[in-house]
């Protein structure tokens, strides 16, 4: 959870952030345009200097959802173990966010994973390639409109028979 001072500082600096609490975890929903500024502020001025995770949620078919993708940043304080969740929403076509690799080198692979699985493009990322799936994979399989059993990728492998050796 985040300390009251952190929440107060965030509220003063970014009044548009919607801060809420659920079971002791604090979350701030911010517009996509300022998410980089918010994270930079938290890192440099508040001390939440550790990027713990970047992940994404696809709200397609979700009841009462207004936006398609929710991108979630979890930042932590290396000394007080304070934790804060920053969430923002992006939409089709071509959901795009600014990269945070300029703030954290470690965000490199996290953003690559989000790109691989959800197809969120991170502007300014130094090396936005797939990280888990094969490079020639065409889709982003954790999107809700991607079928669970795939589009034939698992069957599209050449066959090795006994007569090959």
């Amino acid at each position: 959870m985040a300390s009251p001072e952190t929440l107060q500082k965030l509220k003063e600096r970014f009044p548009e952030a919607e801060i809420s609490e659920f079971r002791g975890q604090h979350r701030a929903v911010v517009p996509a345009g300022i998410v980089h500024d918010v994270l930079k502020f938290l890192k440099e001025d508040v001390g939440l200097a550790l990027i713990i995770d970047i992940t994404c949620v696809d709200y397609l078919y979700y009841p009462n959802a207004k936006d398609r993708f929710g991108v979630v940043y979890i930042v932590g304080h290396p000394e007080t173990a304070e934790r804060m969740i920053i969430k923002t929403f992006v939409n089709d076509p071509q959901p795009t966010l600014p990269t945070v690799t300029d703030l954290w080198e470690g965000a490199n692979w996290l953003e690559r994973e989000v790109w691989d699985m959800f197809g969120i493009r991170f502007e300014g990322h130094p090396d936005l390639r797939r990280i888990l799936l094969p490079e020639d994979f065409q889709d982003h399989p954790l999107r809700k409109d991607y079928p669970l059993q795939g589009r034939g990728e698992r069957h599209n492998i050449p066959v090795v028979t006994r007569d090959l050796g």
Binding site: P141, P147, L148, R154, H155, N156, P158, V160, T161
Partner: protein, 205 residues
């Protein structure tokens, strides 16, 4: 025949060679999941795969003749599995251990191959999730029986499988994969498989 002393046994060379081969299987453990733990238990002292002559696990395919695929194989791993299979020397066999390797198991998802036998040859399937070591031992006993019945000393069945010898080239569709290319040599007439009598062709397993 009456001149033969009592301590001489006459047998077919094929039977003798098969007897040697089946009791000295060298497994290549391709363990990707929990089946690999049972595979290790099979190799450990309690179940003791050495009773069947298959205790020499080697991690180089060049030294193995039995591939045991233990666990689920994803589409990204399949080219690796195929390359290892192609690197093994004849005669060679393959055991598909467990529900995932044989059918994909519960992992009916976009990335998991629904049975390795779609893409490489398999001799024996072991059901179970994961199978107990006894089941794997039974699979090895069954494979030994198969080797004793079907093998030949000169590996004629292996030559029959790979006629004509072909170069391995990169797949143009998928550069990470090796596939059979054009024939290596023009037909020279001295192919070991070509001296068998006409009509002796049987289906390779």
């Amino acid at each position: 025949m009456t001149d033969l002393p009592d301590n001489v046994v006459i047998t077919k060379l094929d039977a003798l060679v098969n007897w040697c081969r089946k009791n000295s299987l060298w497994p290549m453990p391709f363990a990707t999941a929990c089946c690999g733990i049972e595979l290790m238990a099979t190799g450990a002292s309690r179940h003791d795969i050495a009773r069947f002559g298959a205790e020499v696990f080697r991690f180089s395919p060049r030294q193995c003749d039995l591939m045991i695929v233990a666990g689920r194989v994803v589409m990204k791993m399949m080219p690796v599995l195929q390359r290892i299979w192609l690197q093994m020397h004849e005669p060679k066999w393959c055991i598909s251990m467990g529900a995932c390797a044989s059918t994909g198991g519960v992992f009916d998802t976009y990335a998991v191959v629904q049975g390795i036998d779609r893409f490489i040859p398999v001799d024996v399937y072991v059901p179970g999730c994961p199978p107990r070591p006894e089941q794997l031992l039974q699979a090895i006993i069954d494979l030994q029986e198969k080797i004793q019945r079907e093998g030949t000393a000169s590996g004629r069945e292996a030559f029959r499988r790979r006629q004509p010898p072909r170069a391995l080239v990169e797949d143009p569709r998928n550069p990470r994969l090796v596939v059979a290319g054009p024939p290596l040599f023009a037909s020279s007439g001295n192919d070991p498989a070509s001296d068998r009598p006409a009509g002796s062709e049987t289906s390779a397993t």
